[in-house]
Amino acid sequence: MNFLIINFFLISILLLTTFYIFKTTSLISIVALTGIFTLVCAAIYVNLDAVDVAFTEAAVGSGISTILMVMAVAKLPEGKKNQLLNLFPSIVLSVSIVIVLMLIIANLPLLGDPNAPIHLHVTPEYIKESKSIFHIPNVVTNILASYRGFDTLGETIVIFTAGLGVIVLLTSNTLNRKTKFKKKVKK
């Protein structure tokens, strides 16, 4: 049951970090807090046996994402004082979502329930076939590369698309140089 207690504390830290992110106005502090946030997430994933996810979260979420944010924030002015608009509608929305979701998740299988449907259907085949066909011990790798390899291709394309989009936005002539395309932008 140790994992439950560790899980409890890590999740609590996560929630606390979220609260601080909400409260903080300095952009660079927010970025730092986001880094902490993702690292705590990675720790939670390790605790929940998702080591591959934890590794990715640490590398991509905490590493690359933080670097990107720092680079962006470096070019931007300091954040202004918290200006919260739409407060009332968003409180109503939040509270109603919380109530609805609480009712629904009460119906979901509890954490770690070995008889949950997801542990009975489809997945057992993966584990069995991993032993017999692939001879690669990491089942996640097997699924990622083979069973759901097409998703992984899609994932690569997502990165490519985003990269291309960033290049277009940051370096393209259409948006950045003082060519005839730039003139028309109304100042």
Binding site: V100, L101, L103, I104, I105, N107, L108, P109, A116, P117, I118, H119, L120, H121, V122, T123, E125, Y126, S146, Y147, R148, G149, F150, D151, L153, G154, E155, I157, V158, F160, T161, A162, L164, G165, I167, V168, L169, S172, N173, T174, L175, R177, T179, F181, K182, K184, V185, K186
Partner: protein, 497 residues
């Protein structure tokens, strides 16, 4: 050729995505365009081939990596999407032909390699949305299409900086929508353990417990898809995004993006949700139907007050999506049939309208507003008359395909004795006359006189292809109706095969 045929189902999606990577850094705009055209011609021929395969062998299931579903990812080409697949291929080809000159004047030529790359990514991913049979795989395609759309939309900032705000808005709302969808997938997965659509249906019919969680999962998925397909009131991202995007991009998205997602939306409604008939009825009668009616009126009325024509058309899209969802909210064959008919017809109509307006936009070199186009019917007669044809179809006059849509929507409503709704739909179609006629009046009956300018055939020929097809399908409606009835029958009757 034969080696391609076996994998044609996958190739129509994968090919544009891979070619996109190749052309991204080609400096020559002409070469990038040419490669895109060749790719899409090939794409169209594959689609035709797939259609022939479908008509002789029926539903095609393509298993990636030969892993049988539900273990691997699969594509399904059945009656529901075969028609849209064909229309999609043909339409993107026409739009791409049209896009060349438009891109040249709205986007720096040096960027057009990247623009066409994003263009192909959008096409490939939308096609993936049409074909995929795996609920998580859909999410991946949704994201590719969202990211490529956002990048393309932000290219509109070359002419108006508001495009950036629109793109950011779309990014945030789109990501929320996609995440809602994933939450839904999570719920559905938690209760069934599967991600494959067909298997999901089988599993769901076996489990009797936890209906509320599944219902919630389905609702989350539907909400996510409703955000993505701009169903009222989750449409707020659409008007700025479509109106500030480069004109060719608006054409592609207005015609096809929301439609592709709507296809999956009805699949979930009628293939998965229909297991819980009680919930389905509640959702259709008390949520989707009223929302659609509100969408029709709100969209139309806001469109009436717009001065910017691209925005006007975008709001009209909201109303037209309302018609589609209204038809889909009628839980029988005739309603779904009408919805599919309108998906096809509205794709053509709105595509044609945005194409014509796009041409006016690049000739004006500015926003297309009601004032700025005064007298342009004389200046650009060929384009303006195409716009007129598309607009008359939007109103739903006979001999245009818009009329056929209206006919089938009325028929569906009538056979379900929804007389009040018939009245409201008739009223809204008359309101549509107002905003469309504002454009016509400025175009053709203005006091400003112009000499006719020679127009660019590379642009008006694609526009007229669409305009003529609108008339053709208005007179010989059987093709579209047949596609739609295949779709609705396989959706309603042969849910899981």
């Amino acid at each position: 050729m034969n080696i391609f045929l076996d994998d044609a189902t996958a190739l129509v999606v994968v090919l544009p995505l891979l070619i996109a990577a190749i052309i991204a850094f080609i400096p020559s705009s002409r070469l990038a365009w040419f490669i895109t055209i060749v790719t899409l011609v090939f794409h169209l021929s594959l689609s035709v081939e797939l259609f022939q395969n479908f008509s002789s062998f029926g539903t095609i299931i393509y298993e990636f990596g030969n892993w049988p579903p539900p273990w691997g990812i699969s594509f399904k080409l059945d009656g529901v999407n075969i028609g849209l697949q064909l229309l999609f291929s043909a339409f993107v080809l026409v739009t791409t032909i049209y896009s060349r000159k438009i891109f040249l004047s709205e986007i720096d030529p040096e960027d057009s390699g990247k623009a066409y790359s994003l263009w192909l990514l959008a096409i490939g991913s939308l096609n993936g949305i049409i074909l995929t049979n795996d609920i998580f795989n859909l999410f991946v395609f949704l994201e590719i299409s969202a990211l490529s759309s956002i990048s393309l939309i932000s290219l509109g900032a070359g002419t108006n900086r508001k495009a950036l705000l629109a793109a950011f808005n779309y990014l945030v709302i789109g990501a929320i929508g996609a995440t809602f969808y994933v939450i839904g997938v999570g719920f559905a997965y938690a209760m069934t353990g599967t991600l494959n659509m067909n298997d999901l249906i089988i599993q769901l019919s076996q489990y009797s417990e936890g209906q509320l969680a599944i219902f919630a999962g389905m609702s989350f998925m539907l909400i996510g898809l409703m955000v993505k397909s701009a169903v009222f009131p989750l449409h707020l991202w659409l008007p700025p995004a479509y109106s500030y995007a480069p004109s060719a991009v608006s054409t592609l998205f207005a015609a096809l993006a929301t439609k592709a997602i709507l296809i999956f939306f009805v699949r979930i409604l009628y293939e998965v949700f229909s297991i819980y008939n009680g919930y389905l009825e509640i959702f259709l009668d008390y949520i989707l139907l009223p929302l659609s009616l509100i969408a029709i009126f709100v969209g139309t009325i806001i469109a009436i007050y717009q001065n910017d024509i691209k925005k006007l058309l975008a709001y009209s899209s909201i109303a037209q999506i309302g018609y589609i969802t209204l038809a889909f909210s009628i839980n029988d064959n005739s309603g779904v049939l009408a919805g599919f008919v309108h998906i096809f017809n509205h794709a053509l109509i709105k595509g044609g309208l945005f194409m014509a307006v796009g041409y006016l936009a690049i000739s004006l070199n500015d926003r297309v507003t009601l004032e700025s186009i005064e007298g342009y019917g004389q200046k650009y007669p060929i384009t303006s008359y195409a716009l007129l044809v598309c607009g008359l179809s939007l109103i739903g006059l006979p001999l245009t395909n818009g009329f056929i849509s209206k006919l089938y929507i009325f028929q569906a409503l009538y056979s379900n004795e929804m007389f009040l709704t018939i009245g409201l739909v008739a009223l809204s179609s008359a309101l549509a006359v107002i905003y469309f006629w504002k454009i016509v009046e400025k175009l053709f009956f203005s006091s400003k006189g112009y000499e006719a300018t020679s127009e660019d055939p590379a642009i008006y020929i694609p526009i007229w292809i669409i305009a003529l097809s609108i008339i053709y399908f208005g007179i010989f409606s059987s093709t579209i109706v047949e596609f739609s009835s295949i779709a609705s029958e396989s959706l309603i009757l042969g849910g899981s095969n």
